[in-house]
């Protein structure tokens, strides 16, 4: 019997990071080694650190956690000759609403990520790494612990990695439920045993990260893409995508589609094709209303704005973001007031309370949206939602404030008629 995956793969996918997912036993080191495993590490071991970083730069890989920062450039900021030891931190705190891809990368191909971490370690001469996994993903902590144990037992971690004399130790670290800890500096405070509060930048984590050591920090998917980049060359990876948007990424399609699932698509893939062909279109012949392109923090796109290629730059031009790859498809029946309220309930719950514009802003926005949803809305609330949100923009240490404000602004501006409908219904009731 074929391996049961979370969703049926699509023939339209381009499999790079997910190429081993469907193979029986893909989570084991033997299967990984039989499928190109550690070819890239051995190759990287023969390269200079500068050449590794150049290859990653050539690949045009951009951070898959949400910010989309060029990975090679980020690596180049880590001072590899610093007298302080360098550390690697993996952000596996996947919690951006709409996103469920890092789960699969760890569950189906943990050794691919480990190899990516080892290559990053060569590039910055680091000898210890920590995988920060959200507490709700306990089963994945177990998967990673098993993979790490197996790698140690077979000589792919520890004092003599793959017989090359390179030394590296890798550990998992459990979170305990906090969206904010997906923000890289809050994650660093959390890994130090504190509340996850964002830090002022600079200094950036590359210079003073975990325990004030130079820290190379990337998302699970970013590390998982590294073996293919080194093995087949940065140029080959870059060529899969569009200029400055290299490679493929896992797109998590959820919501009103016939075949929701996680699919690996090249950067620049047409959004409407992803919805209609990869994910099988909208059920019941209903019309598309809107798309959240990359997790709940992204400004929402109206149906007529969705005929675009999915790359970081096009999405930015469209006033939104590619984010974390969490694409939520909404059909014409979706109540945008309810949707906006649920988004704000989330951010109000997750605001760490450090910055007042975020802590107070999310609370008040939630209150206003709640009363609107309960039929107590006032006409002036519509403009107040927008104004309050705009007052939060850029006034907080981390991106959570903006993440709460941006979708709200876009929903209020693009779907004012949904709010008007609530007011009209209230008038009828009176």
């Amino acid at each position: 019997m074929a391996k049961q995956l979370y969703n049926q793969p699509s023939p339209l996918e381009t499999r790079v990071v997910s190429k081993n997912f469907a193979i029986e036993g893909s989570e084991t080191l033997d299967v990984y080694l039989a499928n190109d495993g550690y070819k890239a590490f051995r190759k990287a071991r023969e390269m200079t650190p500068e050449a590794i970083i150049d290859e990653v730069k050539t690949s045009a890989l951009r951070g898959r956690g949400g910010a989309g920062f060029p990975t090679g450039l980020k690596w180049s900021f880590v001072p590899r000759t610093s007298p302080k030891p360098r550390v690697i931190v993996v952000n596996a705190d996947e919690s951006e609403p709409g996103t469920c891809k890092d789960r699969l990368l760890m569950e189906y191909d943990p050794h691919q990520m480990i190899e990516g971490i080892l290559i990053a370690a060569l590039a910055v001469d680091a000898h210890a790494g920590y995988i920060y996994i959200r507490g709700e993903y306990r089963y994945l902590i177990e998967v990673m612990d098993r993979a790490i144990d197996e790698a140690y037992a077979k000589g792919y971690l520890g004092k003599n990695v793959a017989g090359t004399g390179f030394e590296f130790d890798l550990y998992t670290h459990s979170g305990a439920g906090a969206y904010e800890c997906g923000e890289e500096t809050a994650l660093l405070d959390s890994i130090e045993g504190k509340r996850g509060i964002p830090r002022m930048k600079p200094p950036f984590p590359a210079v003073a990260g975990a325990w004030a050591l130079p820290t190379l920090l990337n998302n699970v998917e970013t590390f998982s893409a590294i073996p293919a980049i080194i093995r087949d060359g940065g140029a080959a990876f870059a060529a899969l995508g569009t200029p400055k948007n290299g490679g493929t990424r896992l797109v998590c399609i959820s919501g009103h589609v016939n075949r929701p699932g996680v699919y690996e698509l090249p950067l620049g893939y047409p959004m409407m094709k992803a919805i209609n062909e990869v994910a099988g279109g909208i059920p019941g012949g209903k019309k598309l209303k809107a798309v959240v392109p990359g997790g709940s923090s992204c400004p929402i796109l109206k149906a007529d704005e969705c005929d675009i290629p999915m790359d970081y730059d096009t999405l930015a031009k469209a006033g939104s973001m590619l984010g974390s790859g969490g694409m939520v498809v909404l059909d014409e029946t979706t109540d945008m007031v309810r949707f906006a309220l649920r988004i704000m309930k989330f951010y109000a719950h997750e605001s760490c309370g450090w910055c007042i514009p975020c802590r107070e802003g999310t609370t008040w926005l939630k209150k206003i949206l709640q009363r609107f949803y309960e039929g107590q809305g006032r006409r002036e609330d519509i403009s107040m939602l927008g104004e309050l949100s705009k007052n939060m923009l850029g006034r907080t240490f981390c991106a959570l404030g903006d993440a709460a404000a941006l979708p709200t602004i876009s929903i209020v501006e693009k779907f004012t008629e949904d709010f008007e409908m609530y007011l009209a219904r209230q008038e009828v009731m009176v």
Partner: protein, 160 residues
């Protein structure tokens, strides 16, 4: 305070993995693993984690209130977590949560009188493409309908 041999082994390793003098880093993972065994973050547990990680009890206490999975009071033997965040919301997550409230006769963060089940409306847990999702303790359940939730709960009840 003593834990099971497996947990003691885990904690012994945990305290060696961070850089020299940085045992405070073990506070959060130690709390969550210990909580699973003890049932809640008790005062005694706070003191114990503080002692092991070489920090003050206050430094442990202050993180307990921050992380949503850490709790001072015991939960049910089966902690039913229903996601109602956006991807779940639009495919019936909120209705599923309402159904769970009725089925268990408890509300958000409440426990049934027999101590078997507790309920929590949770934020996104990374199952968006297979929504609506429920996590019972650490087990994920995908594409959950009210009927499927009833079966899950009844099955756990019967297994008692």
């Amino acid at each position: 305070m003593n834990f099971s041999p497996q947990l003691e082994e885990r904690f012994a390793k945990m305290l060696t993995r961070y850089p020299e003098g940085r045992t405070r880093s073990a506070v959060v993972p130690m709390l969550i693993y210990a909580q699973d065994e003890v049932g809640a973050v008790t005062n005694e547990l706070i003191e114990e984690v503080a002692r092991r990680c070489k920090v003050t009890p206050l430094q442990v206490d202050e993180v307990v209130g921050y992380y949503s999975m850490l709790h001072r009071k015991p939960q049910g033997k089966f902690h039913v977590q229903v996601c109602t965040n956006i991807s779940c919301l639009i495919v019936g997550g909120e209705e599923l949560y309402e159904h769970a409230k009725k089925k268990l006769g408890v509300g958000h963060k409440e426990t049934t009188a027999d101590g078997q089940f507790s309920l929590e409306e949770v934020e996104c847990m990374g199952a968006c493409s297979w929504a609506p999702a429920v996590e019972i303790n650490y087990d994920f359940h995908h594409h959950v309908t009210p009927e499927k939730l009833d079966q899950l709960i009844d099955g756990l009840r019967k297994a008692q």
